[in-house]
């Protein structure tokens, strides 16, 4: 058949069309448009998000944004574009936008589970825990797997059910995903185990993550936490150095600075803090909104007064228990422990057993003269002490003195 000069091309076109069709469009694109448009740009956007992760360079966020914009311009109701843009909004801590895009994706494809994680993450960060519980339940009812199980675990953790959180996280690990996805949930299991004081189990989880992805930064940071808690500060510093060389996350840099400082290496500590500041600035420049982490950084390593102002803004942006904790700690550090305690109690309202929350609440209570309440929080914090940074642990030890 001469008009069939390229039957293999037909097969190729069929597959390319499948890509377009299977992209989650509620109405399949016209054949002529197959192979171009929404889905390809969204895939490009996701690749940029992955690049941001690999390099630690938030400048890739802007490129991802352009790709998702193009995707949505070609295909305004495309689920991939909406989910991608929603995910990016979450990365930039714009949780209201994340929620809006997630819901729009849900409307575009009510049969698909993919928008649900985006919606759930936003609801958690906006402090809408009841909504989040319903969304996560819908997710696990329709599409159980690593993404659903990991969110069940986080919800339980936030509500103080660490045993249940560990159990759900084991489901997530067992289900697995890509190697990086599996390594990530193994690391989260390590963090949970540390929180309940099971160092050996935590170490095993981090090591398993490192077998899945060599030098997985968060797992190295987890092992460093164990080292630091056991007094091996030099080893902790070395691991954190490896972790931050691979990926300069602000939390790891700050942690490293605290370890270096405890080792008496003041110049190194100052350099690490400067690097964390640069990273915070880069995030701001890439239009990432401040979040609780930025508030805590300011409270601990910058100006407590600025931390309070920032904390109020962060609370307005994302009224979650994390934001309440950060604002409370900023107030306590700024010499207003009475107000700090109000916010700290608010941070503990879901029953979270986060040792950092408890430490902050304990210190706020202590400094506002409520010794009984302080002792309750502080003794509870001791159980998860291994999960604390060296700076926080020093505060805990001093306060229990």
């Amino acid at each position: 058949m001469s008009r069939l000069a390229a039957p293999l091309a037909v097969f190729g076109a069929v597959l390319v069309a499948m890509v377009a069709l299977n992209h989650g469009a509620t109405t399949p694109p016209a054949p002529a448009a197959a192979g171009t448009g929404g889905r390809d740009y969204a895939a490009l956007g996701n690749t940029y998000l992955a690049r941001a992760r690999e390099t630690g360079d938030p400048a890739f966020y802007s490129r991802a944004e352009r790709a998702f914009d193009l995707s949505l311009r070609t295909h305004p109701a495309g689920v991939d574009g909406l989910v991608g843009a929603g995910t990016l909004a979450g990365f930039r801590h714009d949780f209201r936008e994340e929620l809006r895009l997630g819901r729009e994706a849900r409307r575009a494809a009510p049969q698909l589970a993919r928008p649900l994680p985006v919606i759930a993450d936003a609801e958690i960060e906006l402090g809408r825990y009841g909504d989040a519980a319903r969304t996560i339940q819908r997710l696990v009812d329709t599409k159980p797997g690593l993404p659903a199980y990991a969110r069940v675990s986080y919800y339980r953790e936030l509500h103080g059910d660490v045993v249940g959180a560990v159990r759900a996280m084991r489901y997530a690990i067992s289900a697995g995903s890509s190697e990086e996805g599996t390594a990530y949930v193994e690391t989260l299991l390590g963090d949970l185990e540390l929180m309940r004081g099971r160092t050996a189990a935590a170490r095993a989880a981090y090591r398993s993550a490192l077998r899945d992805v060599k030098d997985f930064p968060q797992a190295l940071t987890g092992l460093a936490r164990i080292d630091a808690a056991g007094g091996s500060l030099t080893r902790a510093a070395a691991r954190l150095r490896r972790s931050t060389n691979r990926l300069p996350l602000t939390t790891a840099l700050t942690f490293l600075a605290e370890v270096e400082s405890a080792l008496g290496r003041r110049r190194a500590a100052a350099a690490d803090l400067a690097a964390a500041r640069v990273q915070h600035r880069l995030l701001r420049r890439s239009r990432t909104l401040p979040d609780a982490e930025a508030v805590l950084f300011e409270a601990n390593h910058g100006s407590p007064a600025r931390a309070v102002a920032l904390g109020r803004r962060v609370w307005r942006l994302a009224p979650s228990i994390r934001s309440a904790d950060a604002l409370g700690w900023g107030l306590t550090r700024a010499g207003r422990p009475g107000e700090g305690l109000v916010w700290a109690r608010r941070a503990l309202r879901t029953g979270s057993v986060d040792p950092t929350f408890r430490l902050h609440a304990g210190l706020a209570a202590l400094r506002s003269g409520r010794r009984g309440e302080a002792r309750r929080y502080l003794t509870a914090a001791v159980r998860g002490a291994a999960a604390l940074s060296p700076g926080a642990r020093r505060l805990l030890e001093e306060s229990l003195g």
Binding site: A5, A6, P7, L8, A9, V10, F11, G12, A13, V14, L15, V16, A17, M18, L21, N22, G24, A25, T26, P28, P31, A34, N46, T47, A52, R53, F91, H93, Q111, R114, D121, A133, Q137, V140, K143, P144, G145, P147, A148, A150, V152, R156, H159, D161, R170, Y171, S174, A175, S177, S178, Y184, V185, S208, D212, L249, T251, T288, D291, A292, E293
Partner: protein
């Protein structure tokens, strides 16, 4: 064409890495992307030449296993359930189901090695990680729309063939895993474990801007992109009486009990988000696979989650329209003018979902309903020489009358969608005609997996030939 996209995605430099935020204190678990351990890649059902009188089924999971993927090797998920279903009435509901559950044991928890060099058998302590399975047979009876299930545990603690790590770890891998072939009292034969992916297709050419290797389709010279990849398989051989509607052997192709429909599924636990302190609920089906075309090509992705959750008896109502008017036929015409009929494709519905009359259509059922199962007539004698085009190649013992390992379903599906059964015979193909490794003449039929030591995926090229 099953999970081609997934496999391709996995291969394209792991493009779907998990995007995680750079400021890391707030949590976002990965979005929904890959779920390989629940992902059915292929289901095969046929009468093996060396075993007439039995239904042979092979079901595969975990697409695109790179053989060298240690030290945490791929495995079945201990917390999921894996199913092979048989419908012997043609209504799309399972009548007999085999359920597989797994448990992994690590003998030496201080070692992260899967096995020490020279591991010689399942009892050898050098085999550090051992996964075992139990198999439960479910009988379903339907009364007033209710599914009454009775179940019986057929065996427990059977070993899963381990991944082929390499010749130093497993000096004689084939002998080692032959011990994973088990026969049960009722005559059922089982093999569960890693195998070479029996699927074959040229993906790369198609994703490189439709870069042709050869100016024609069915002329060879395609590159088998799944060559050298492994999967996890469950292979069963079931005496006919265990799967037929009357519990008897099949006397011939015309017998009322001759046709059975086969598909495979995966279930995961439904957890309770809050309340009941870490309690869990029932099970949710997250993946299913009958015919190789339907799941990935016919069902638009907007319906894919739903398709994976539902059972074949609802296929006609939920997805019939996508088969009757396949978008792919329109695409083929728009781009290449192959003259494929675009609407009213009852020929595809019949070939894939209803069964061909007097060949693999269930007897005594009205309609018959369009259900996505692999319908195999157990009375059709195995072909002495298999034709990879199956029924459209004149070999009635092949796809879509069952599906054999060597059936070239990519080429068959392309030609059928182009209108082969309506007289529009176009020699379409992807240029890959057979698997990179020869299949075995005896159970478990699927070739042994490529070892991690020899890992070199995606390297086989089909020799050229005339259409």
């Amino acid at each position: 064409m099953r999970k081609l996209l997934l496999a391709a995605a996995a291969m394209l430099a792991c493009a779907i890495v998990v995007p995680l935020a750079l400021s890391s204190s707030h949590r976002e678990a990965p979005g929904i992307a890959l779920d390989p351990s629940a992902d059915n890649t292929d289901t095969y059902a046929w009468t093996a030449a060396d075993s007439p009188g039995a239904l042979t089924v092979a079901a595969d999971w975990i697409p695109g296993e790179v053989p060298a993927n240690g030290p945490n090797f791929h495995s079945f998920d201990d917390r999921a359930r894996y199913y092979i279903h048989v419908d012997n009435t043609g209504d799309g509901r399972p009548d007999v189901s085999y359920r597989f559950s797994f448990r992994t044991k690590v003998r030496n928890k201080n070692s992260f090695l899967y096995a020490l060099p020279g591991a010689s058998g399942f009892a050898d302590p050098k085999l550090n990680v051992i996964q075992r399975y139990s198999v439960v047979r479910e009988r379903h009876r339907y009364r007033h729309g209710h599914d009454r299930v009775s179940e019986k545990t057929l065996a427990r603690g059977l070993p899963v063939a381990p991944p082929n790590i390499g010749p130093k770890t497993f000096p004689s891998y084939d002998n080692f895993v032959n011990a994973a072939i088990r026969s049960l009292h009722d005559g059922t034969k089982l093999f569960v474990g890693q195998r070479d992916d029996p699927f074959f297709v040229d993906l790369g050419a198609t994703f490189d801007g439709i870069n042709l290797r050869k100016g024609t389709g069915n002329q060879g010279e395609g590159k088998d992109d799944l060559s050298g990849y492994n999967v996890h398989s469950i292979v069963m051989q079931l005496p006919e009486r265990l799967v037929t509607r009357d519990g008897k052997a099949v006397s011939g192709a015309d017998a009322a009990n001759a046709v059975v429909g086969v598909w495979s599924t995966t279930e995961r636990r439904r957890l309770q988000v809050s309340g009941g302190r870490g309690g869990h609920g029932g099970w949710v089906q997250v993946s299913r696979l009958g015919n190789p075309l339907v799941n990935e090509v016919v069902i638009p992705l907007g319906k894919k989650d739903q398709f994976n959750r539902t059972t074949p008896d609802r296929d006609a109502a939920l997805y019939g329209k996508y088969v009757v008017k396949p978008e792919l036929a329109a695409v083929m015409n728009a781009l290449f003018g192959v003259g494929a009929p675009e609407d009213n494709r009852t020929d595809i519905v019949q070939a894939l979902l209803q069964g061909i009359p007097d060949l693999n259509q269930h007897k005594g059922v009205k309609g018959p309903p369009a259900v996505d199962t692999i319908k195999v007539n157990l009375g059709t004698p195995p072909a002495s020489t298999e034709n990879r085009f199956g029924v459209i190649g004149g070999d009635t013992a092949g796809y879509p009358n069952g599906r054999r390992l060597g059936d070239d379903v990519v080429d068959i599906d392309l030609q059928v969608v182009a209108g082969f059964l309506k007289g529009n015979k176009v020699p379409l193909g992807d240029g890959v005609d057979r698997n990179d490794k020869p299949f075995l003449a005896t159970f478990p039929y699927l070739a042994g997996p490529t070892s991690g030591f020899d890992s070199a995926p995606s390297t086989r090229v089909e020799p050229g030939h005339t259409p």
